[in-house]
Symmetry: C2
Subunit: 349 residues, 2 copies
């Protein structure tokens, strides 16, 4: 059926040159006469030659390392999902002679991010994957990468530099818009509580800002008379959360709709469980185990998930493809699907 694959040997024979010269042409190395170059190129076109990547890899035996820069996390937190994807990606890249090394930092400590950047560079990476939490420091870092000619890929959030190889993340504004549409679909929404996290934002980029905007816009467009309430809770003081919520909702007994724009909707489930009579309609984000549990038990109505595993896996895969095969990513900005999870389909994600 398929005619036998052509190899550089075939090309060498047909052009009357040697494998060595053919190889030189293939890799645009210097020291080839125009004539030979043209001859080789012609035969390549004619026979539709495609190199055997694995033979090439075998012969090169080059070791490359991709460094992944990620926030530290506690079990069950968002970044754990990302790490799963890292591991998958590392797994399949190892077949191609690409190792993956993780360097983590404290997302609340800018100094630790600086240290992590140095560590990353010290590993002499062929490529870098990073989730940028500190805007200015990240700019400094990617600038260094550029100088060194090291390609990098953003995940989760991107900065508007023009040098990144690719970005894998969620369309944040739209995710907020979607969130509102789910909350308000076929409903008469007069009041909504947006529960937020107290953050010490030290020049940190807050990815939930865009999301909140999208949410607010949807509500403004579809329920202009709806009033939006902001309520802040502090994840570091879990014991106070219930009290805060009790107080707030006692003061606003008419509110039935609740949204939260970060991954920690699970923080309010204890409160929700105490008020089944209110039949709150609650939408949150991200498929953390604790969130899924709340979803299945009916405390949370919907979760919008963004496949952090896929983001990470695809980032590594794109970078590997680039490093090993020289393939540019087919698109630079890659937005992940926003999965709508309910208690009835969560099982299968």
């Amino acid at each position: 059926m398929e005619t036998k694959k052509t190899t550089i040997k075939d090309i060498a024979r047909l052009t009357g040159l040697s494998k060595g010269t053919v190889d030189r042409v293939l890799h645009n190395r210097e020291g080839v006469s125009k004539k030979s170059y043209a001859k080789v190129m012609e035969v390549i076109k004619d026979l539709g030659y495609e190199p055997n990547v694995y033979a090439s890899l075998l012969a090169q035996k080059k070791e490359r390392v991709i460094v992944v820069l990620l926030p530290k996390y506690e079990p069950g937190e968002f970044w754990e999902l990302t790490e799963e994807g890292i591991i998958e990606g590392a797994d399949s890249s190892s077949n191609l002679g690409v190792k993956v090394a993780k360097v983590d930092y404290d997302q609340y400590d800018i100094e630790s991010f600086r240290t992590a950047c140095s560590k990353a560079l010290a590993l002499e990476p062929s490529g870098v994957v990073l989730a940028p939490m500190f805007r200015n420091e990240t700019l400094v870092f990617v600038d260094k990468l550029n100088t060194l000619g090291i390609p990098f890929v953003y995940i989760d959030t991107k900065l508007e530099t023009n040098s990144y190889l690719a970005y894998f993340g969620m369309p944040t504004y739209q995710s907020g818009y979607l969130c509102a549409s789910i909350l308000a679909d076929e409903q008469q929404v007069d009041e909504v509580a947006m529960i937020r996290i107290q953050r010490d934002k030290f020049g940190k980029s807050d990815p939930t800002i865009n999301r909140r905007e999208g949410f607010i816009d949807y509500i403004a467009e579809h329920s202009p008379d709806c009033s939006l309430h902001n309520l802040f809770i502090d994840p570091n003081k879990p014991k106070e959360i219930d009290a805060t919520l009790e107080k707030f909702f006692a003061e606003h007994p008419g509110i039935r709709y609740i949204a939260m724009f970060n991954s920690r909707i699970y923080l309010i489930t204890s409160f929700l469980a105490k008020h089944p009579e209110k039949n709150y309609r609650v939408v949150g984000f991200d498929n953390l185990a604790a969130n899924i549990k709340a979803l299945k038990s009916g405390l949370v109505t919907c979760l919008i998930a963004q496949r952090p595993e896929d983001q990470a896996r695809r980032a590594i895969s794109a970078l590997t493809d680039y490093l090993v095969f020289g393939h540019e990513p087919s698109s630079r900005d890659n937005f992940m699907p926003m999965d709508i999870l309910t208690r009835y389909n969560a099982e299968y994600y």
Copy 2:
């Protein structure tokens, strides 16, 4: 950091045996003394040896072919999505010396399925991927495959034979249940129209039966007084569809809820477009281009999609893994996520 990869050469040296013998134990080939076997195994454990698959492939230069048995389709139909996954899968398997050949059949013509099966066997496949539409004929076919020792993977639907290597598909019952939950969420549903397709079922397995069951069960559990109406349309007579629908809904003016269990919800959009005043709530299945269009224009409320591309891609990938590396699939029955698509997230799938 990482110590140099161990190779069979290392193992040969450490055991005092030759590469040949090491290779024999690696592949459980006969003709190795217990003693040598044990020695080699020990060193392998100690050094954590992992074979270089690509070197192995290079040396083997074995050509394998996976045959995919699929229904023919018109542009825009469900199976076109499956084919996309086939192509992706074929692409990455080609790197591993595995070719993919498609054999298609007319899903309404049992004889053409028989012919396709013969064609498939004639290609002497190393493995087969199939979407079984004709129950009995499929049983005959997979029986032959078993006799020949050819592994096969079901996609879309599976038969309860115990010999398949893996299955990739949707949890059909649950998808119906989910469908109903979306349709009825926060609603007072008194009447629902289930629009169905006239089928000449010639011993054909109808995958929508389970789905309908799931749907009916949800309604029975949550809205016991709801009445369900069946309405049949004929896709081969598109001109009659509108009239059929007009007549039916004129006779049942109270119905606002519509569900359809196959991939052809687009068939009723022309009707829906004529009755914006009814504000129908409509849920259908599968991300066909025509369906997505209807979703975005607001005629369809929700689509439940099952990632047919992923089914196909993963089926091929699992089979390739099995053929090349000897890896059994980590799970035999693989249910794809059921994606809930609305006009606000459809863009990103």
